[in-house]
């Protein structure tokens, strides 16, 4: 009898200890990124271009490049993702839908480096050079399944009565979808989209041989384009102290953006509930 209770005690203690161990890295990493990155976080980091080691430089072009690449990726992935989400929630073709659902889940598991290979073979090689656009396409492939599945889930929550009410007022199917269903689910849709954006903003691997990076202003998305995570990666593995310092500041920027988007997305979901 005593042994059973002791075993229970040991088990509970182990569970509590392991859960604390799970969140420990979050604080270790966040703390260290703030400690190392904060000293370099000033205005010139966001206004200067990368400079040779020894000269103070910044990552202005990488921040802008990242925003450009992700913006174009969103333009591609949003209509497709939401369209697929609507297909999964509004139509009645169960067989096709479960196949698409499964494919979409599996697609979300394709390693991002392999997505980079696809973009290289389909866009970079035929176009004859690295480009920001190919990076956008790679990130769009990454975002589509996330957006599709999350939008399906919120679209399902839209009560049937809203659709019926719109139909009974004489609305066409398109009007029902665009004017009744989508607006009702809007905040949930935005949440799913934000999470996809947050993931895309932090991705490095698929950009290695698509957007490729650039040390100068890269306004032309058909040319190699700088991106923040890419710049952090390159500076981190460089042997120079001041570049490594900038890598930490870049990492802090990335983390702040990611956390801000996540908090925003969470507030959005809470509003829905």
């Amino acid at each position: 009898m005593q042994w059973r209770k002791a075993k229970n005690r040991i088990f509970s203690t182990a569970i509590i200890a392991l859960s604390l161990l799970a969140v420990l890295p979050l604080f270790l990493i966040l703390g260290y990124v703030i400690y190392r990155g904060l000293p370099g976080l000033n205005l010139s980091f966001f206004t200067r271009l990368p400079a040779p080691t020894g000269i103070p430089g910044g990552m202005a072009n990488a921040v802008v490049g990242s925003l450009e690449i992700v913006f174009v990726a969103s333009l591609i992935s949003l209509p497709v993702g939401i369209g697929a989400g609507l297909f999964l929630s509004e139509f009645r073709v169960p067989r096709v839908q479960s196949v698409i659902r499964f494919f979409s889940d599996v697609l979300s598991g394709v390693p991002s480096i392999v997505i980079g290979l696809l973009a290289y073979a389909l866009v970079v090689a035929p176009m004859g050079g690295f480009s920001g656009l190919s990076g956008s396409i790679a990130l769009a492939v990454l975002m589509i399944p996330t957006i599709a599945r999350s939008s399906e889930q919120v679209l399902r929550l839209v009560p049937v009565s809203i659709r019926e009410a719109a139909l009974s007022l004489g609305a066409r199917r398109t009007q029902v979808w665009l004017r009744a269903v989508l607006p009702t689910a809007m905040s949930g849709l935005i949440t799913g989209f934000l999470l996809a954006v947050s993931r895309a903003l932090g991705e490095t691997a698929p950009l290695l041989f698509t957007a490729f990076g650039n040390q100068f202003w890269s306004n032309n998305l058909l040319k190699p384009t700088a991106a923040l995570p890419l710049q952090v990666f390159v500076y981190a593995i460089s042997p120079y102290q001041d570049w490594q310092q900038e890598a930490w500041t870049g990492a802090l920027t990335l983390v702040l953006i990611a956390l801000a988007i996540n908090v925003l997305a969470r507030l959005g979901t809470r509003a829905v509930k």
């Binding site: 979050l26 990124v33 697929a84 598991g109 290979l117």
Partner: protein, 312 residues
């Protein structure tokens, strides 16, 4: 009036097409991956055939390519991650479901999910500048002293290598394992759990003999999803694994993985055969991850489906 109606009908047709095309695009993309990778790796497949998977020489100068070191590195780091990340992830899920309620549950759950929001390159940066120096100076010498009789803990403490990559991957898969396991455990009928407690079993006995067996398939699915993530993780691993195409029994040794060899060498590959071999590594990586993701999804789907059937 008739013109307006026609316009409406055309609009309806167009939106339907849009939905269909979007959905079919998702299916096409997956097929496209196989066609493209298969096509691009043609040269390497026809030159090396099956030997590609069992040769441990990776020699761009003499045009001999074998992927065994990368397969080994990926398997080694992912297994490490799934053992450690898996245990910690499942424990956290148990804690969230059975040991806490209210605010603490929400806060802890949020923290664990935030681990997934940290970009991969930040994990890599931390691993490179904090974790591996620590491992080199303290962690690995300590392990060698205590567990040095095992071949796993032999050799020079270098810092970068399988151990560092394994630890980083463990942390990175915890959110996946925890959230899936938590959802599956929440799907275990509460009557069963409470029934066990009512019969006088301790919490440990109920979890061990009722909850976990009931949720087993789903938890295994969650672990496999985590494993799939670990296989494909690139940047963080590339930064801490040391990038040397060798097979070593020691966890301290530097190694290489499938994803990191593509990341490192793809833009530098000069010959057609070299590029083709890297594409074939990508193909192997894709097949393995999709296999794991597919099976994992089926297992998770089955558990939650059975659940739905019972509730109705």
């Amino acid at each position: 009036m008739r013109g307006v109606l026609c316009l409406g009908r055309i609009l309806d047709r167009l939106t339907s097409w849009w939905f269909w095309i979007s959905a079919l695009l998702i299916g096409t993309l997956l097929v496209l991956f196989f066609i493209m990778l298969g096509d691009q790796s043609g040269a390497s497949i026809s030159k090396f055939s099956w030997k590609f998977l069992f040769t441990s020489t990776w020699d761009p100068v003499h045009q001999i390519f074998g992927a065994l070191p990368f397969l080994y590195g990926t398997a080694m780091t992912s297994l490490f991650a799934i053992v450690f990340g898996g245990v910690i992830g499942i424990a956290s899920a148990l804690f969230l479901v059975y040991f806490t309620r209210g605010r603490l549950r929400v806060i802890l759950g949020t923290f664990i999910e935030l681990l997934a929001a940290i970009p991969s390159v930040v994990y890599g940066l931390w691993g490179l500048f904090v974790l591996s120096p620590w491992l080199q100076n303290y962690g690995e010498p300590f392990l060698a002293r205590v567990l040095g009789f095992l071949p796993l803990f032999h050799g020079m403490p270098v810092g970068v290598g399988y151990l560092a990559a394994g630890i980083i991957l463990s942390v990175m898969i915890i959110p996946t394992v925890t959230s899936i396991t938590r959802d599956i455990l929440l799907a275990v009928p509460q009557d069963l759990h409470e029934g066990g407690l009512a019969l006088g079993a301790t919490e440990y006995e109920v979890i061990r003999n009722i909850s976990l067996p009931y949720a087993r398939a789903g938890i295994i699915g969650g672990l496999m999803l985590g494993l799939g993530r670990a296989f494909g993780e690139t940047i963080a691993v590339t930064m801490v694994i040391g990038n040397r195409p060798e097979i070593s029994a020691s966890l301290f040794a530097p190694g290489y993985t499938m994803a990191s060899v593509i990341a490192n060498e793809f833009t530098e590959a000069t010959s057609h055969l070299y590029i083709s071999s890297l594409y074939e590594v990508g193909l192997v990586l894709l097949v393995v991850t999709i296999l794991f993701f597919g099976v994992a999804r089926l297992l998770i789907w089955r558990v939650s489906h059975v659940q739905k059937g019972r509730m109705v």
